[in-house]
Amino acid sequence: MSASASETIDPAQAPLWDRNHHGHDVIGTRTFGFWLYMLSDAMIYAALFASFGVLSHVMNMAGGPMPGDVIRPGYAYGETLALFTSVLAYGYAMAALRRGRAGGVAGGLLGAMVFGAAFLGLVGKDLGDLFALGITPERSGYLSIFFTLVIYHALHIAVGLLWMLVSLVQLAREGFSSNVVYRLVNLKLFWHFQAVVWVFVFVFVYLQGVIA
């Protein structure tokens, strides 16, 4: 848009699309785009929490198990600690990235994967125990949304673990290339956002379920 009115532009020669980056902040732009995607994902959580608010009405227990029969607060706190420790490990991976230490990044990612897998294992055992007792999602509206919320969050954790595995391979192959770095930054957003969402799940579904 810098051409003056007196200049003429030959349409046959004018580039329609400039494929080179001229000072364009690729990492910042992609990270912000991914952040907006995370917020749209959070709107799905909002819909699930709204459904939980609706379906946790006593009539939606349908004469089946009550929240107090399904929830073990101490056990859920163990899940919380596993996830928070995984998030801390990923934070240390980012601190190592800041210093350019590939070994520290790989170690942090591995630590995050171990504790993330522990979280998934704890959630899996918790839900498996409920299934063994005949407490299944189709038993009542409350159980449907309880299982949906917990499993939806657990799916995010599973995707994050897979993403970390891919990141480890890319880190080994490419080192700290621009692509690897922005993906690690986006994964940090994703992983740390799961900890924030878990606070909502833990407090509003688990703890306040027992209170109710």
Partner: protein, 135 residues
């Protein structure tokens, strides 16, 4: 959002990482949610008090994590992340709040809760059968 660097490690979003802050918020969040768990497990106060206290603790933990984990602040790098989150929060609250409010009203008008079901059942048992309703 306006940064350009040849070395990706020098990018401000990478330089935001702070190991000490991550450890601090880990300890803080774990302690507060541990306290909330203990209070609930022990039923340390009335249900309404527990509800309000656990909500407040969750709010404090979420804010702390927003600041230390997600780096929600108004630096040039993070400004638009923070603005988008601030604009998102009312949508999040409205989605949950309005849905719950609408269904709360619906339940009150259309569903028999256990508290109201017993008197209603007793009343219908004692009522004479309506003509033409024999099955």
């Amino acid at each position: 959002m306006t940064h350009s660097a040849d070395n990706p490690l020098e990018h401000p979003e990478v330089q935001l990482a702070d190991g000490r802050g991550y450890l601090l918020v880990y300890l803080f969040s774990s302690a507060l949610l541990g306290a909330a768990t203990w209070l609930v497990a022990k039923q340390a106060m009335a249900p309404l008090g527990l509800f309000l206290l656990t909500t407040a603790l969750a709010g404090v933990v979420v804010v702390a994590q927003g600041v230390f984990l997600l780096h929600m602040e108004f630096s040039e790098t993070q400004r638009w992340h923070t603005v988008s989150l601030v604009l998102f929060i009312p949508l999040f609250i409205l989605t949950i709040g309005l849905s719950s409010w609408m269904f709360h009203g619906l339940y009150r008008r259309t569903m028999l809760t256990p508290r109201t079901a017993a008197p209603a059942a007793a009343a219908s048992a004692g009522a004479p059968a309506m003509p033409g309703m024999d099955r």
